[in-house]
Every structure is written in C-alpha cells, then in structure tokens.
C-alpha cells in the first residue's frame, strides 16, 4: 500500500489515467466528447495508455470484448455522456450476457447539472443497471481512484462481466487524493475467487458424488461452455486431461468452442439448435450429463420438459444462480472450473481402475456420426456457404486464427465448419446475438494479437451494422481479413420465414447492397470478390497472402439453409438434417 507521504494531489482525469496504468491497462477503445474531454486531455500528455479511436461507441464495446476474449485481460472503453454512453449499451449488454470482463468509463455532465435535462445528459447508471455487473456514479474525486480499482476487481472476479463508472466532468477537473492501488474492501461482494478456492472452500463431497456417478455411467457425456474459456488455459488443459482419462465423449456450446480441441476424436461437435446430430442425440440418450461452465441456455436445451430425459446431471458453475435455474440437477458444484476440474481429476485418478466400459455407447455414437450431419450438396455453379467455410478452414487451420463472426446463418456455418483447437480463438456474440459484433471484435482481437491471423466472418446484413469500423481498420492498419458471406438476405430471418411463415420473405431481402469492393477501396482497403466455386480457393489464398486488411465479398447461394436444425420448441431427438427440411413442423410459434 502506498504510504501517505507519497500521496499526490491530481485532477480526477489524471487519477483515471494513473489508476488505469496501475491496473496494467495498455489499450483502451473509445470516442471523445464534451463530458469526457478532461480525461482525453490527460490522455494526450501521457504515453503508457494506447487509445484506439473507433467510429461508434457500440464498436468500442465490441472491440473491447474482442480484446478481452482473445487476451484474457479486462477490456476498457471510454465514452462521453448521453449518446456516447447510450451507444455503448448494446455492447455492455452483450458482454453481460456472455460474461466478458469490461470496464466502461463514461463522462457525465457536471454534478450541478445532473437532473436538469442538460445537454447530452442521460441517466446512464439507471440505464445500465440491468446490463452491468455493477455500476458507479462518482460524486467525489477522492473516491475515484479506489472505485476504478474496485470496478476492475468486480469485472474480472467470479463470473466476469461489464462494470460502468460514470464520472461527471467536474469530478474529472477537481483535484483530489489518489492512494494508488489499495486492497479492495468490499465485504458485501461475494464471489468465488478465480483459480483458487481460498475464499469459499470447494465442497469435496459433491466432487466425490460426481465422480461416483461418472464411474457408474454407461452413457456419459461432457457438455462444456464458455465458463471454461473464462476460467483460463489451465482449466482447458485440465478438461483435456479429464476427458482423455475418462474416455467420455464431449460436446460444447457455441460459447465454449475451443476449450477442447475440435480435432480430437472424442469431440462430437457443437450441440444445440444447429449442433451436430451425434451431439444432440447423445445429449438426449445419455445416462449422465456433466455440464462444465454452461448454463442450459434455450439454444441448447430445446424443449426444456423433454431435455435429456433419462440422465443424472452434474453441473459445475462459478455462478450458483445458473444452477437449478432452467434444469434441475442431481449434483450441483459451485466452483471455478479450474478448481473443480482439478478436484474431479484427482478423485478420478484415485478410482481409475473402476473406469466404466462405455464401448457400447461409443458404438451408438459412431452410428450417429456415420450419418454425417454436416454434409451438404455442393455445387459447381454457385458457392455454397458451407463450402466457403470449409475452404477457409483448410487454408487457415494450421495458423490457429482468431475468428470473429456477426450473427445469423454465417455465424452457425462458421461454428460448424471452422475447427477451433485452442481456447480464446473464437469470438462470437452468443447470448445477446448482436449483429454488428464481428468487425469491431476482430479489431479488438487484432490489437491484442498484432502478429496473429484474425478473420472476421460476416454476413451482408450484419456487416452493414458496424461497417464504419473499416475506417478504424485502416487508421491502425490492422491486417484483418473480413469475409462477407453474401446471400443478399438476412439469411436466418429468411430461413425462419421459409420454414415457419410459409416462405413469406417479409423485409428480409436487402435491396441496394453496396458494391463491397468499391466500398473497401473507398477506405483504401483491398476489396476482393468471388462468385465462382472453382476460383474460391485461389481468391482466398490471395486474401491471406495480402499483408494488410482485406474485405472479401463472397457471393453465395441465397437459398441455402443451416442444418441440422432442432425446430424451435422441439426436443434434441427431433433434430432434422438438411435432407429432411420438408418435415419441419412448428410446435411452438412462440419459441425463438
């Protein structure tokens, strides 16, 4: 702790800069404006914090998410009051849903103006209360330093999430004391320490119960989620050891892809609405389901009353609110994944001689796998989107690229056809499903990983939602490769309209798309276009060999649908393959 003699009086703006530096922050994403000008002035006269100027505050938040997810650090954004902060709300909500650690510093009108409907005033702590893990309105400059450190502590500990600090302009200008990074004193904030069970001991009796069920299982399956990625590389390594030691099959949620290598034969692919046939059938017929860091989201469960009807269920999660929320479980374990997995692995090793024989289960799974649910009808005349993603995967898999997506059909095809063999490589908006996420997330990932290949797979509609970030890409010369899977439709909307609404394509066709090559060129970025499947490989190679950023307009078959698909409101075993599309029956028109 810094001694009192080292106290310095600084302006609030300087305190923000000092506190961010003391938190180890190197990069912030932001956009200046009236109420945060004092901070931007303090930023101007220092050289430790790098500021990335985005072109819209929503993009700042997504870029910070991409930065955080690809680096494991806390993402930081700075925005101004009013519209600056309200623009960031979608990104904050996205981070809240996907448990991404962010700190958002927003300028606010001076304290004397708050409540008078001042220019660019918005009640941002009120507006963000339900989409942040916590938020603050700082009224006294002497509290500012501590609050920033507490905000980082809350953002990254326990189940991570976004925290907002609203700082009025006069608080940024006033002089105050900053004691440096002092210990956090917040007794009411109860969380499970990441990577340690120091503050809340693990319930070892639950671990023993879980392993007992694993030893008795005939048809077990691991179902893992984004909690593994958040728990870090070591947790993923322990997962790998446990899965290999048990010999059990494993499936992953959209958020969890990469926690376990996709190229391992025990991996059944993603589960859920557009998951593989084998993953969903195994979930339905298993006798033991081991959920590690996933939350029984509705994309995964389908019809809740018919979800995995004959299984015992183990659920390990850092957030006990996720346990017994949707699906009742037999063995709840509240723990950080690394701590829980280490204990499970230790317990398993003690009993490994009793390892169950699950050969019959694997034989059944192999039969499901032989259906090849991700196969598709290729074409010599139009590019099938599945083919485009397969092609991209073959060309880049050895480089272990970071891959961001937007939301819709292209997102599902990317999840299905790109192999994620390492954690933190996959950046997608899972919970909120935010179109416009992909490009800024790729910006954040490329800033955090300047020497790595970063791909952004987007759709024509999603891309238009944050395409202004091409300007950011150019300014910082970020060599991201943006591939637009262009079917001229909001593809997933069109797919649902075809399957559920009698092909009435209400407002899902995008008239007047821009010429994407010329659009790229207007930003002084290389634009490429391909509609010929025979040329695609060569064109992708040209894209990958180009040193700078590329916008690749990949014109694909417009009528292609994403399969397999569990119809909304149906159970896992009602999954349909592409060849069975005509059998689609809507059982629940309210299901989304």
């Amino acid at each position: 702790m810094t001694q009192l003699s080292q106290q310095q009086t600084q302006t609030g703006a300087q305190i923000i800069v000092s506190a961010l530096i003391n938190e180890g922050v190197e990069t912030i994403f932001g956009y200046p404006g009236g109420a945060i000008l004092p901070f931007y002035d303090a930023l101007f006269v220092q050289d430790k914090l790098r500021h990335i100027l985005v072109r819209h505050e929503q993009a700042a938040a997504h870029a910070a998410e991409g930065y955080a997810r690809s680096s494991g650090k806390v993402g930081v954004i700075t925005v101004t009051s009013g519209p600056g902060a309200t623009n960031a709300i979608t990104g904050l909500t996205d981070a809240f849903m996907d448990s991404i650690p962010l700190v958002c510093i927003s300028g606010q009108v001076p304290t004397s103006i708050i409540g008078t409907d001042g220019f660019q005033e918005a009640d941002i702590t009120g507006l963000t209360r339900s989409c942040t893990k916590h938020n603050y309105l700082v009224k006294n400059v002497n509290d500012l330093g501590y609050i920033i450190h507490e905000a980082f502590h809350i953002a990254k500990t326990g189940r991570p999430g976004p925290v907002l600090i609203d700082i009025p302009k006069d608080v940024q200008n006033n002089h105050g004391f900053y004691l440096g990074k002092t210990p956090i004193n917040r007794p009411s904030y109860q969380y499970l320490a990441n990577n340690s069970s120091a503050n809340k001991p693990l319930d070892h009796s639950k671990i023993a119960e879980a392993v007992k069920l694993m030893l008795e299982a005939k048809k077990p399956i691991f179902y893992t989620g984004g909690g593994l990625i958040n728990a870090g590389d070591e947790a993923c390594k322990l997962l790998f050891e446990l899965v290999l030691a048990t010999g059990f099959p494993i499936t992953s949620t959209l958020m969890g892809l990469g926690a376990f290598p996709a190229n391992n034969s025990q991996f059944l692919g993603m589960l859920g609405m557009h998951g593989t046939y084998e993953a969903n059938m195994a979930m339905h017929q298993c006798d033991l389901l081991i959920n590690l860091g996933a939350r029984f989201d509705d994309r995964v469960t389908g019809k809740v009353s018919a979800f995995s009807p004959n299984s015992k269920k183990i659920h390990l999660d850092i957030d006990d609110c996720s346990i017994n929320k949707i699906i009742n479980v037999d063995v709840p374990i509240v723990a950080d994944a690394k701590v829980g997995l280490q204990a499970m692995l230790n317990q398993w090793q003690k009993h490994k001689a009793e390892k169950p024989n699950i050969n019959a289960w694997w034989q059944q799974i192999n039969k499901w796998q032989s259906i090849k649910s991700l196969s598709y009808q290729n074409s010599e005349t139009t590019i099938k989107p599945e083919y485009a993603l397969e092609c991209l995967n073959k060309l880049t898999v050895n480089q272990e690229p970071f891959v961001s997506t937007d939301v819709g059909q292209h997102q599902m095809w990317t999840a299905q056809y790109i192999s994620f063999n390492q954690p933190k490589k996959w950046l997608t908006s899972g919970g909120l499903g935010t179109m416009g996420y992909g490009l800024p997330a790729a910006v954040g990932a490329q800033i955090a990983n300047p020497n790595s290949l970063v791909l952004c797979v987007s759709g024509d509609a999603s891309f238009l939602m944050n395409m202004q970030e091409l300007s950011t890409v150019k300014q910082y010369n970020l060599p991201v490769k943006i591939i637009i899977i262009n079917n001229q439709y909001m593809g997933m909307v069109r797919q649902w309209q075809e399957l559920v609404y009698g092909s009435r394509e209400s407002q899902s066709y995008t008239h007047s798309l821009p010429n994407f090559v010329k659009l790229a060129e207007s930003f002084d970025i290389l634009g490429l276009e391909c509609s010929n499947p025979a040329k695609l490989n060569e064109m992708f190679t040209t894209m990958l060999n180009h040193q700078g950023p590329v916008l690749f307009n990949c014109l694909v078959e417009a009528s292609e649908n994403v399969f397999p698909m569990i119809p909304a409101g149906s159970a896992h075993n009602e999954i349909l393959l592409g060849s069975q599309a005509k059998q689609y029956i809507t059982k629940d028109f309210n299901a989304v």
Partner: protein, 163 residues
Amino acid sequence: MTDTIKNHIVNIIIDNEFGALARVIELFSARGYNIETLSVAPVSGKQNVSVITITTNCNDKTIALICKLLQRIVPVHTAKQLNSQHISQELVLLKIAESPLFIEDILQHNTACRWRIINPQISQTQTNLELIGDSHNINQIIETFASHKIISIARSGLVAIDL
C-alpha cells in the same frame, strides 16, 4: 420443493449507497417477479447498512433463485428467505372521519392488533388511528371501517425477523 405459489418474505441486508434499492427493485421487475410489499430503512447501530423486507408471491424454486440473484448484487451482504418460524408486523396509520369515542367503541373488543388513537387535539369529527399487527388482522380491521369515511391511510409494508 413444490410448485405451489405462496407468499414468501425475504430480508436483505444491503450497503446504503447510491442506487442500491433500485438494483433490488429492478431485479424483480427485470425478471418478472412480483413485489407485494416493500419496506426499507437504515438500521441504527450499523450506519451504512439498510434492511429491506420484501414479500413476494412465487413457488419454492423461484424464491430460492431470487435469493441467489439478490445475493449476486454487489452491495447486498445477505438475502435470506424467512422460514415459517418468524415474527412479522405491519404498521398502519389511518385518518377516519368519526369521533374517537366511536372508534374506541368499535375496537374495544379487538385483540388481534395493537391499536391506539393519536389525536393531538380533541375532535368529534376526525380520529387518527395507529394499528400494528400482522397483515391479515390489519386487513380485517380496515374492512370494518369500510362503511366509514377513511380520509387517508399509510401502510408500512411488512417487517419481519426469524425467530
């Protein structure tokens, strides 16, 4: 655990700070839970802590989840559902357009609630009445005044502690 919807009482100990009560209330509205009564005040002796008592209608599974979600709010120290062994009281202040003698006459045999008349000045036309008791009994007494003119009424909502 049953699916029966019934009344539950939750006591929350929370730091006194900007926005703390709003966080609790918004949790209920954001997730579609219902607040029947709400009472909140700082607790003397612990300067910076308030106790919030909320009554809500839901099943056992939901009340367990509500308590966990409340516990997740950063300034919340504890959020506990009261079991069947608890004491609970409500305070009601009523201004009724009747004379004190008339009111005394109606309430003289009542033992279910504590009551007293607080008239700073003698009046034959108006009575200020204080009632303290459990919600059910208080409701019954208020019912007995249904045919009389109640000029104003204020009700604290339930406060409760475990036995």
